[in-house]
């Protein structure tokens, strides 16, 4: 069984993965998560109130950003969260400011916790296994501290 993204169209995989955003072709405002028919939103309406754009293109966001803030989940979150292991292993979360001007929340890479993070520190996008289900391993994007 192969690893597949837990959600389609949100990120690329490979050695240098990127988050995918939707960019308005009129005003170039960028939104993440991207417009996705899988997520039930096939139509695009630009969210910049000064723009009536209805066409978008897919763009890759920068792989590196700086930490806006961070925390962790010491107790297992409720469903629909699917725990990756039994017993539950706490994980860290980070909100990351990207050069494109938006902050994106994500889990922090395996093996890193709040002690490895600081507001303003640099992190990089990686793809890791979120959990496994009947179709095999499901992957997601995560933020990994960039060592100095």
């Amino acid at each position: 069984m192969t690893a597949t993204p837990v959600i389609d169209g949100w990120f690329t995989t490979g050695d240098e993965p990127h988050l995918l955003a939707s960019r308005c072709t009129t005003c170039r405002n960028v939104v993440f998560p991207p417009v996705s028919s899988d997520a039930g939103a096939a139509a695009f309406y630009c969210r910049n109130p000064a723009c009536d754009g209805e066409a978008h293109e897919s763009v890759e966001l920068s792989r590196r950003g700086t930490v806006w803030s961070y925390t962790d989940a010491q107790y297992q979150p409720p469903a629909p969260y699917v725990p990756a292991s039994d017993p539950y292993q706490p994980f860290a979360l980070a909100a990351v400011e990207l050069p494109e001007g938006l902050v994106v929340l994500g889990q922090v890479a395996d093996g890193f916790g709040v002690a490895d993070l600081k507001v303003g520190a640099e992190v990089e996008l990686v793809i890791e296994t979120l959990h496994a289900d009947e179709s095999g391993e499901r992957t997601t994007y995560r933020w990994k501290p960039v060592s100095a």
Partner: protein, 398 residues
């Protein structure tokens, strides 16, 4: 401040917060009858009922206005039901106020009541890949306390706040709530108690985070003219209800979203969403933060109380810890915050909570807040935020 374009608070009432395990309607009717009794106005004279919707109690909760009106005995009043997440109660008050100010009604009863499950608030069952509130749990395991923790951590890294500061907010609010008969938790806490409680989402401990509770609150609003005609002397007035939404770009990450708007096109705005909620209230009331005597703010976490103090412009950004440490926000201090004990002593009963803030400020402004009175309070402000761009700030004056 002029009293035109204002409505009177003729009566307030609550059902004590707790985990009572009973139907939300029962709590709501209890609070409604208490508010009516407080006002001296008969139920038969109420011509509008606005209910705060609860999403955890089936159809009766979705049509809360109707549910309460029927439970009180159909009297022919018009009904409305509001839902605005945690700001539900304020939006319900705003609906009632608007109809009174438009001259379409004279006496409105606003009621919010809830029963809540134990533990983390979680989305309803089912698979919904287009629902951000579902996705944040499925993809990230991002609970409400995790969002609160992001804000708390940012205060620490940017302003030098400490876990002891956060714990001190709990200590203060626990002491404030000791004599409040409607509070669920009436027990002193120490800094050591808070720090010894388990970390839920770093840096927040269990005792930094508010519980969820059953409870109900109600207010009776009337036109100023009706109040005068019926001998309600010098009533507390609703001077402002701000329920503005964010403006683009909203650059502070908000529950339940996974990202912010991009500021690339416009730059970072002058005011955050929470700051704009308070500013709109001040503008509407025609007063400024220097006029405020008491504040009831939404301390979903201890650290969030500190954020709100700054959002209400009661001090500059990064200085709320200074006020806290100096005792300024304690009853008897310069600007007491959460004299009711706040969510720390109540736990959150979503559709009732913003109404409960108004009840508390009404008692404070009347000088009836026994055991927790802010002496001489004439102007009070509330602050509250919910999911999906909801929030409120209400100003009461006497």
């Amino acid at each position: 401040m002029s009293s035109t374009n204002q409505v009177a608070i003729a009566g307030v009432g609550m059902h004590a917060w707790g985990k009572w395990g009973r139907n939300f309607t029962e709590y709501g009717v209890h609070a409604a009858r208490a508010a009516l009794k407080d006002s001296g106005i008969a139920w038969a004279d109420v011509d509008l009922v606005v209910g705060g919707e609860t999403v955890r109690n089936g159809y009766a909760g979705y049509v809360a206005g109707s549910t309460f009106a029927q439970a009180l005995g159909w009297n022919g009043a018009r009904i409305a039901t509001s839902y605005a997440a945690c700001a539900t109660g304020a939006q319900a008050i705003d609906t009632a106020r608007a109809r009174i100010m438009a001259g379409l009604c004279e006496v409105a009863l606003v009621v919010g009541a809830d029963t809540t499950p134990k533990g983390f608030l979680a989305p309803n069952a089912g698979e919904r890949w287009n629902d951000p509130d579902w996705l944040r749990f499925r993809l990230l395991g991002m609970t409400n306390p995790a969002y609160f923790a992001l804000y708390a951590r940012r205060r620490m890294d940017l302003y030098g706040a400490t876990s002891e500061d956060f714990a001190q907010v709990k200590v203060k609010n626990a002491r404030h709530g000791l004599e409040n008969p409607y509070a669920r938790f009436r027990k002193e806490s120490t800094v050591a108690d808070v720090l010894a409680s388990p970390v839920v989402s770093d840096p927040l401990h269990l005792l930094d985070i508010c519980a969820t509770s059953d409870g109900a609150a109600a207010v009776v609003l009337t036109s100023m003219e009706y109040a005068k005609k019926h001998g309600i002397v010098d009533p507390v007035r609703v001077a402002a209800v701000s329920t503005v939404t964010p403006t683009f770009p909203n650059t502070v990450i908000d529950m339940p979203l996974l990202s912010t708007d991009s500021s690339a096109l416009t730059g970072i705005p002058d005011h955050t969403f929470k700051e704009s909620l308070a500013q709109a209230a001040y503008d509407e009331a025609g007063i400024g933060p220097e006029d405020v005597d008491v504040a009831e703010v939404y301390d979903l976490s201890t650290a969030l109380e500190l954020d709100w103090i700054e959002d209400l412009q009661l001090c500059k950004p990064g200085e709320a810890e200074v006020l806290l440490r100096a005792g300024d926000t304690t009853i008897g201090g310069r600007i007491p915050v959460n004299p009711s004990g706040g969510l720390a002593c109540f736990g959150e009963a979503v559709p009732a909570q913003a109404i409960a803030q108004v009840c508390e400020l009404t008692w404070q402004l009347r000088g009836q807040a026994t055991g927790r009175q802010v002496e001489g309070a004439r102007v009070g402000i509330t602050a509250n935020q919910g999911l999906f761009g909801h929030g409120s700030s209400v100003i009461l004056a006497r």
